[in-house]
Symmetry: C2
């Protein structure tokens, strides 16, 4: 008896810890694995370098880096250099200034189009509803609604085949749980990048750096990028 | 008593008859009106010229032309020059080769992000479920599912304000009804472009040209682009 060969997948790879962990999961569970990195006018391209290094490390079948000139269209501290990044901790009751209008909707739409074009069964997305609960487009109900869009709005969804499956395996994990899980999978943290500031080394003070440091500390692990 | 000032809107403007009619409706019903034209590696840029001419004609507050390098990612006769365009009539039971994976999902996602960033209340989209029933992402159920995504995935949707409203005023109109409706609104058909082939004049044989010709004929009207 032969096990059914699992279908391929595409990982939305930003270069951060969460998408690196998703890539490790995708490589464990599916074949072939593609990676898609989308730049949308962020402050820096340090993340894209990390994404390339991760794609090489995991020997993905294809890695596409797409630079979309949409930053000036979208109002956010992440896409407009003049606005100050928040460094006052994540406040779950308020939507952070680093919120990018419709970001995950845009990224998911592109990735569903990519997956359907390349006949891949699933997409992996490193969203997290615990540490980033301030973002509306990181919530389970948003992902469920988007899965319905993917089913109704694509050929594979409509013609009776399976629509592209949306997998967000880290959705309900804390940063510390992600560190522990990633360690078991052997995720090369040294290749990942989280800092919003984009210097040569992580700034250590932005929300992304603080969440990352807190995750490693609670997991009792050492972050090689700041060690 | 002062009438409540209607909120602004953005029109997804391709340069074709349907989006031109949507622009006329938006200018009648809302203020300010923005226009967003997205090129995604189509065979030609004749449509973009038409979009610019229409935006000037209607004196929109802003017209943004966004060129997205996503054509090579997406598998379609419209984005890959090597594939032959269908000229054998529209078959509602089959999804046409000109289907672009997740196209309307991608366009809607970008337009919702634009509308939210510019504090516009609504977006207008010229989709049509009658003449293009072969496309899954032109159906009412797809638009309803996407409206839910816009509500759950954006700051304006979540924080209790109204999410960006998705308006598809031509959804249930035939091409002939669109011609008659557009004539009443004074849509300048001469500035619009429908042909897939992108020559100096419409080819007259592709599906888009045939649907257009049929619409004008049934409406008892003259198409100035072929007259």
């Amino acid at each position: 008896m032969t096990a059914r060969r699992p279908g391929g997948s595409v990982v939305l790879l930003s270069g951060g810890m969460d998408s690196a962990t998703c890539l490790a999961i995708a490589c464990r569970d599916s074949r072939p694995v593609h990676a898609l990195t989308v730049g949308y006018g962020q402050r820096h391209h340090r993340e894209v370098r990390s994404a390339r290094a991760l794609a090489r490390h995991y020997r993905v079948a294809h890695h596409t880096v797409l630079e979309l000139p949409i930053g000036p269209l979208l109002d956010s501290a992440l896409t407009r250099p003049a606005r100050r990044l928040r460094t006052d901790g994540v406040d779950a009751a308020r939507i952070p200034a680093t919120y990018v209008p419709a970001r995950n909707t845009i990224l998911l739409a592109l990735t569903v189009g990519y997956a359907e074009s390349h006949r891949l069964d699933a997409l992996y997305l490193g969203v997290n509803a615990i540490d980033y609960s301030g973002y509306p487009d990181c919530r389970p109900e948003f992902l469920r609604a988007f899965a319905r869009v993917a089913r109704l709005g694509t050929k594979t969804g409509v013609e009776g085949h399976r629509a592209v499956q949306i997998r967000a395996p880290l959705l309900r994990k804390s940063k510390a749980e992600i560190v522990r899980f990633g360690n078991r999978l052997g995720v090369p943290w040294r290749l990942t990048w989280s800092c919003y500031a984009g210097g040569r080394r992580p700034c250590g003070t932005c929300d992304a750096c603080r969440l990352r440091a807190d995750g490693f500390r609670r997991a009792g692990a050492v972050d090689p990028t700041v060690a």
